[in-house]
Symmetry: C2
Subunit: 410 residues, 2 copies
């Protein structure tokens, strides 16, 4: 990982930000342990809370569809805000198994981002550009992007951590899914943390992969947890279908799911097929994977463990496929087909994806983190229809009729 020097005319380091203690310790302790943490080398920008939420919601923000009110760092009653007390707790005790779930999720996604970025740099040979960004009242995110590398056309691995308050409309809409919401609350403190990733390899035989895992909670004034849930998913979008890859990818996800609940994989596989359906093309974006939201059906410890396992399954589930496909020979026609499929990817993300739509409609969102999911290049060709019997035709057939790639007992 290499840090990016702020460019002339770009976003610049804010001195007041760097003086704030809230963000610095968590960055140096967890994420940037082995890296150069010199303030000059880290690119910061001042953003709003909305931008943080928007960047979490790169795909399937789900319940994150609200706009937020300004907040102050101290609560109305003069006590420390949940964010401030979390920052102190991290600084004084680090993050342990007895820390609040907020801090454990944050530490987990920072760790996973680091592992994933390191693994991807190893396979590509090029380094990610790292943009660590913060907002005035604390909290922040880290966008890691590798563009036009040896293996990847574009690879983005983002995390963001948000503290804020929900307006009444958002509380109202969330109450439907979460009965623990207090109907008398008009101001709800919330926390959201997520890791989002999209990888577009150059070789048309190597599939695009996307994942997004997030934790959401609302808090009492004293920082104790009120409501909480997990959401996320991992899905694969090949231009050329290798059945063995699809089977390996789904099997790895199924194994991660099965370790926690035998009903998860079939349920979340279907949810994924439903979510990533490109209605106007009558086809799926890819060959699916898993997807879930509002997950609160087990003990939070168990679900953190499940989500950690899902994230952990990414490297064994995807990298062997990438290794096998990244250097396969291909023709210009095959590259064109990949570019056309990239176009469909753009269509899904810009037209249908709830997280992207929400982000783009959020004032002052960090657009570059949201649209990091788009490929470097894409193509739209009028009336392109693959000939029957070709590999391209079979790919489309599978997108129109999602398959079961691994046997389930359900």
């Amino acid at each position: 990982m290499s840090f990016r020097i702020p460019r002339r005319g770009g976003l610049s380091v804010s001195a007041s930000l760097l003086r704030k203690p809230a963000l610095q310790p968590q960055i140096s302790r967890t994420f940037f342990t082995s890296s150069n943490t010199s303030a000059k080398a880290v690119r910061y920008s001042t953003i709003t809370r909305n931008a943080l939420v928007a960047s979490i919601g790169i795909s399937a923000a789900g319940g994150l569809g609200w706009s937020m009110r300004p907040e102050t760092q101290l609560c109305d009653n003069g006590k420390l805000s949940p964010e401030e007390s979390d920052a102190i707790q991290k600084r004084e005790n680090g993050v342990t198994e007895s820390s609040p779930m907020r801090l454990r999720m944050e530490a987990m996604i920072r760790q996973k981002q680091k592992e994933i970025v390191e693994a991807l740099e190893k396979i590509d040979g090029e380094k990610f550009i790292v943009d660590a960004w913060a907002r005035e009242s604390g909290g922040g995110g880290v966008s890691c992007v590798l563009q036009d590398g040896n293996v990847f056309e574009k690879a983005g691995v983002n995390i963001s951590i948000v503290y804020g308050t929900l307006p009444p409309a958002a509380v109202q809409s969330m109450r439907a899914h979460h009965k623990s919401f207090d109907p008398n609350d008009d101001k709800v403190n919330f926390f959201a943390a997520g890791l989002s990733m999209v990888l577009h390899p150059k070789n048309p035989m190597a599939p695009t992969v996307h994942l997004n895992y997030r934790y959401f909670e609302t808090m009492n004034e004293d920082g104790s947890t009120k409501s909480w849930w997990f959401g996320g998913g991992t899905d694969l979008t090949p231009s050329y279908l290798f059945d063995e890859d699809a089977i390996h990818f789904h099997r790895t996800l199924k194994e991660a799911c099965d370790r926690h609940d035998p009903e998860y994989y079939p349920r979340f596989k279907k949810w994924c097929d439903d979510y990533f359906y490109v209605k106007h093309r009558h086809e799926s974006r890819g060959i699916g994977g898993i997807f879930f939201d509002d997950l609160e059906d087990k003990d939070p410890e168990q679900l953190l463990s499940f989500v950690t396992d899902c994230l952990g399954s990414f490297i064994p589930g995807y990298l062997p496929i990438l290794e096998k496909r990244k250097d396969l020979p291909f023709t210009q026609d095959e590259k064109n087909w990949q570019q056309l499929r990239r176009g469909r990817y753009v269509e899904f993300n810009l037209v249908h994806d709830r997280g992207t739509k929400f982000g783009l409609n959020t004032p002052h969102a960090r657009i570059e983190s949201i649209l990091m999911s788009l490929p470097l290049t894409a193509r739209w060709q009028y009336m392109h229809e693959p000939e029957k019997g070709t590999r391209e035709h079979r790919m489309v057939d599978v997108l129109k009729n999602p398959r079961e790639w691994v046997q389930t007992s359900a």
Copy 2:
């Protein structure tokens, strides 16, 4: 213009369609006068009314945002439908100055499509692919597309003509703008005809251009006109700004407007800047032009003449610019910048354009006609920001701060 032979597995000629007299005469009389009208050579497809409306609304469908109910060719009372009687009138009398506005608008856009396509073929050297499509109950459209030509990366010139009935919700929403709507009507016959065009030249120095002109009316049972209005606009999207081109383009539009109403240009120029604003990027899609909707402030004859004049101003307004820029030398960096601007074009069309959004959400819409507006290729590069003092930076500056390109007295 060359006709496309239906491909194996593609959309095929429907024998029952070709037996219907309603569409054939209008095609051979007006649009395809000098062309081979052999049924075998024309590519037809059976589509729904929604698809026709959707394809009209390639940009800024405006009031066209409803879904429609099935209709029969004969009215409930057994009389001929407006469409059927229009078809008979065309067949027996042709289209004259005393014909209903529906037929005159249709004849006008067919003629303009022909003129524009011929002019563009002359400048490119390659021929357009022509897809004439019809739906079972009559009416239809013609999509002309030139892809990967000598001058054009992608050029699409579409017309469509629709007859249908409006559901109550649409009537309700239109009543706000058009007081002539009868509040007691629960079923309203309507007609819509439009020409839409998007040209993406290859050379990054040559600007993309878009236009869309349409006529909408509702009819009494006997086919006489109840409410009606015109809408449309023409706008330019350069990657590199040549002030003289912007001035020439706007001046030509202003002259067309001024011949009809001195207040039109300033009013429609501002409307255009407002409509083509890419909110999430805080910039305009291009350097504007004119845009208007629900126009019914003059005699329909005068407005048909205005819209005809706007369409007529396209060739003198755009082709001289294209001639000057299409063969200019350019670097790979300049081509990349064009591709990035293409990406922004895609963002506007897929995220913000009302017509595209409506079309994509319309079941059974002819997606290829709607997305004909997208460029052949586009690019998204993380955190690309042009350096101050460069031509790219100036372009963005103008997109963020729309200019007045010609003096107006208003």
